[in-house]
Amino acid sequence: MSEQAFPKAAEADVALLLEGTFPYVSGGVSSWVNQIIRAFPHIRFALVFLGSRRSDYGEPRYALPDNVVHLETHFMHDDLGRHGIEVAPRAGNMEAFARVVALHEAFRQKGTPDLSAFEALASELMPGGSLTSEDFLHSEQAWGFISANYRRFCTDPSFVDYFWTVRIMHLPLWMLARVAKELIPVRALHTISTGYAGFLGALLARSRGIPLILSEHGIYTKERKIDLYQSEWIRDNRNVFQKDSTELSYFRTMWIHFFEWLGRMCYDAADPIIALYENNRLRQVADGARAERTFNIPNGVAIGRLSALRAKRADHIPPVLCLIGRVVPIKDVKTFIRAMRILLNRMPEAEGWIAGPEDEDPGYARECRELAEGLGLGDRFRFLGFQKIDELMPKIGITVLSSISEALPLVILEGYAAGVPALATDVGSCRQLVYGLGEEDRALGAAGRVVGIADPQAFAEAAIELLQPDNWHAAQAAGIARVEKYYADYMMFDRYREVYDRALTAPVASAAEAAPLRCPVHRKEGG
């Protein structure tokens, strides 16, 4: 489907704010979005897709359901320089920058921050506001603010790097403000992550006075931290005398704080804030979400469709371990590859498959292929690319997940429903999915094995143990029982029906309640 053929509408019921996921990227979150849209055919959805560059994505991976009445795509790195920013020196609005200063001071406060300055700034960022991107890029006020902050806080010697880091970091916010201004009228907002999509949600909620629902799968801020801890593009210009070996580089810290604050602004505007399981809910609260707005709705899968796949299985247990997921660092595919080397030493008939797209991080995918080659796995290890679950599940013995971070992986549930036990690392809710959560759940038995992260030896040994027929059959039975009892999709849909009903029947906040349109100072003056 070309972008010109995307549906357009004058209004919709719910705007789904999607960052780097449905419909362009396949994976657990995208499948979930697809499930949710199709589960509520009476709701008219407007999709706002936020991506990095157009060239990073191919064609949409999902057919759009009929109730998607509007789809718009925005590519942040492509769009940054597009909108005719006038390059001319300017003074900048002193009041607007005073609010920027107040907001940054609020960020530095310990405890619960006062984000009223953000409320005041939300609409000023939009085209026609008093804090435009031109002001940010070319005004004397912006220069003064950036250079003063550099002098006060920056521990990296390079002002040039600091200056450009600040510009690159903040510029997408104006692009999002423009998206917020131009979005068609909707009655409610639903963002699937914090980050840029969450910030867009906060902007829209603040400026239009409509409810914002946040459903977080992974914790966005945590995942960005993982990327930032491992990234090699962030410079540290301190010399040996300036460097404190226990300090992260200033720019790395700056990026981490930036995403933390995007998250806080989203949490501040969203109600309800939904997590997939309890640990993630606690993490949301620790990161600034108000506890009374949070609750859990676990994922669910279509039991009827997937259970039919059990009949297609062969009589014997295929010695095939399959990682179903994107080939990206967070999945720690390398640990699976290393584990396969150990497994093949002891079970030469075993096979390792990776079923998932490799185009999201081609550099990492290349490293994985090189590692598999370097370990001499040969034809016992295969990169299959994207595969249909229904065709794949009957052929595999164990669904593996070697991730360093997960939430509540759909692929484990899909495996259970199709009669395939799981071997997973001890991240997210994997332990809960494999061994059960409460007393009753635990009584169903272990539906696989859980091992520590980045431990190929333990991973391989657990796989050998699980492939023993007695263990495998017991795990298969436990998995089927668990998914049917606790993780059926209709349970999830019932909970979301309540969430949408509440959001769509909520009265639109009046201009006074919407608050963001005026700064707190003016509000006081107005009585």
Binding site: T155, P157, Q230, A454, Q457
Partner: protein, 330 residues
């Protein structure tokens, strides 16, 4: 008085002195005295002008400089004054006085915040214990963990691996990121050299690539990155490439050969490789501890003692001192 006025005055005096001689036809002494006084007055003004123009370019006493120019202009007829005037005209062409500038007072420089860390450095003593302490604040443990970046990989890798099971997710993820970065560097280099080894155009290039590959696989063992069966795999690969490139004269390669065979449990071959390393000149303190380990595995404790006691002859055995003391008392 400005320099221009002084110049005009000097010129005026000198012209009047000349005019006195040209206009008057008398040859009286009075006329000569009048000319001389007017000329000397012109020379004095000229000397003052030159001194002003010099702006301290000439080192030493200003009075002597003035007297010198005055004498030059006053007592060398015609040429003296012309020379001084010529010098005055050429003065701007001389090097600028800045090259001889004096010291100036400067205000105190402002404190450069980049030189100042806002938080104190973590004390590295007991780092391992601190990191493993689940009751210590996570923020401080994170800082301590970042501090491990500069520690030798051989010592920090086991600690990082321990932290992969830490209760704090942030700690786990940071430790994972640090280990992953190390493994990634080595794996990338291994892949590059594997390609070089496959595509080598000559036997020399092939041997060089094999030697490098052996060193890289050995590094994954030395840095404690490869564990369990993967450690064995790395040892086998390192040994394979080492044996393909082993040069008989290289003592350090024979030592690594011994260590790889030792790692793989081929103890007799390992001992032969260690002995070959000693024959090729490697000092006993570098090899005897491994030979002693092999002797220990054979339960040949007398040989263990003999090998270790032989190290007493060598200075600076501080790291081995507790072992030597134990075996000397045994």
């Amino acid at each position: 008085m400005s320099q221009l006025k002084l110049a005009c005055l000097a010129l005026l005096f000198e012209l009047s002195a000349g005019l006195q001689l040209l206009v008057s036809r008398s040859q009286s002494d009075l006329l000569f005295v009048s000319f001389l006084l007017t000329h000397l007055l012109a020379s004095a003004v000229l000397a003052s002008l030159v001194l002003l123009s010099l702006h301290g370019r000439v080192p030493g006493s200003r009075r002597r400089t003035w007297l010198f120019i005055f004498s030059l202009s006053g007592f060398i007829p015609v040429l003296g004054m012309v020379g001084v005037l010529l010098g005055l005209v050429c003065l701007p062409l001389l090097p600028a006085p800045g090259s001889r500038s004096r010291f100036h007072s400067l205000s105190l420089p402002a404190l450069d915040p980049h030189e100042y860390q806002q938080t104190g450095a973590f004390r590295q003593a007991g780092l391992g214990q601190f990191l493993r302490n689940d009751r210590a604040p996570v923020e401080q443990r994170l800082r301590a963990l970042v501090g491990l970046q500069n520690a030798p990989a051989r010592f920090s890798s086991p600690l990082l691996r321990d932290l992969l099971s830490a209760s704090s997710e942030d700690l786990r993820l940071l430790a994972y990121g640090m280990l992953e970065t190390r493994e990634k560097r080595l794996n990338t280099e291994i892949h590059t050299w594997r390609l070089a080894w496959q595509d080598a155009g000559s036997e020399t290039a092939r041997r060089a690539a094999a030697r490098r590959l052996s060193a890289l696989y050995w590094e994954t063992i030395y840095q404690e990155l490869a564990q369990g069966d993967l450690r064995r795999h790395a040892a086998e690969e390192s040994l394979r490439f080492l044996e393909a490139s082993l040069e008989d004269a290289d003592a350090s390669l024979h030592l690594r050969h011994g260590r790889l065979l030792h790692e793989l449990g081929r103890n007799e071959a390992a001992e032969a490789a260690y002995r070959r390393a000693i024959e090729l000149g490697l000092p006993a303190p570098r090899v005897n501890p491994y030979l002693a380990e092999l002797a220990f595995l054979r339960r040949d404790f007398a040989e263990v003692r003999r090998l270790l006691m032989s190290l007493r002859e060598y200075p600076d055995q501080r790291r081995l001192e507790p072992v030597l003391r134990f075996w000397s008392e045994a």
